[in-house]
Symmetry: C2
Subunit: 183 residues, 2 copies
């Protein structure tokens, strides 16, 4: 993951009770697939501990933040903002431009904010985003959209990321489970 | 999506209360990203109606089934079985072989079963799967893993899928929301 901009994921609209698992999945997907940090809005902050626990065990760097003013986070972001929404432009048509704007693989990078909602996203976010991006124009899952977006943004390089300060490491196996402590 | 094998997604281990949203997301992700059907095991069947409602509104074909004997579904499957697990082999190392075995893009296809769990998956599934596949060896989300797997399996062609019998169609937009009725 050399020469990549910082990528932050902002999780909006967490509904207590209903979105506990999905907000956790957003955070863990952000971590696993190459983002540098997740920002949990409002009551979504309650899921931060679970995500930090995974980072403590399986390594980092990855940070978890929270905000009570997510719209300000979007509007004040210095670099490009990508909002993942089923109403946006097809990812396959805009991913190249987003890589260019963020400077992926160049020496001149811009930090990227990726916004994913749970419930209905305020129109302010559509307006503030440089890119409203659809991973299909079908209703499915903000977790799935985030995963496909990150895998395409980094063109698969995120899969080879190395982790530091892990207490345990999974050893890939054709069958069964193997977990070791790092050397 | 010409000349592709049938792809079914089996959702295992649904926990009532805890997994309502995630099982729905698995089913909707399967539909949106090119699978032909989802099979919901045990109490996960309760999420079928929500998934079918989306198919009624946004089009198909896509079918929802349920089973109380998911291990038999895995063991009796005629074609190759892929189990998505953080303990498996890296997707970037095995995706080509899976495409070959399933006959993606050839005239000689084999139906593929993709298994995703919620809670701990029985060891029988690891044994019965032709491929235990990891979308990173990190803990994150079966929804994210399914999304990346399908996008790579179909090499992005699933994003251009057309839908039949839709009551409503989202028109991609750079900003805002536009929904129409199909012609």
């Amino acid at each position: 993951m050399e020469e990549t901009p910082e990528v932050a994921v902002l999780r909006l609209g967490h509904r207590p009770g209903r979105d506990e698992r999905t907000t956790t999945h957003v955070g863990l997907t952000a971590r696993a697939l190459g983002a540098d940090r997740v920002i949990l809005a409002g009551s979504g902050a309650g899921r931060g501990e679970t995500i930090e626990d995974i980072t403590d065990r399986f390594g980092g760097p990855f940070s978890v933040e929270s905000t009570d003013e997510p719209i300000a986070t979007v509007e004040n972001w210095e670099g490009p903002v990508v909002h993942l929404t089923m109403y946006g432009l097809p990812i396959q048509e805009v991913e190249g431009e987003i890589r260019d704007v963020a400077g992926i693989g160049s020496d001149d990078t811009e930090d990227l904010l990726v916004v994913v909602g749970a419930e209905k996203v305020p129109f302010d976010v559509y307006e503030a985003a440089a890119f409203n991006v659809a991973v299909t124009n079908q209703p499915h899952s903000e977790i799935a959209s985030l995963a496909v977006f990150l895998d395409r943004l980094f063109e698969g390089r995120e899969l080879d990321r190395e982790w530091t300060n892990a207490q345990q490491v999974v050893v890939p196996k054709a069958e069964g489970k193997q977990v070791t402590e790092p050397e």
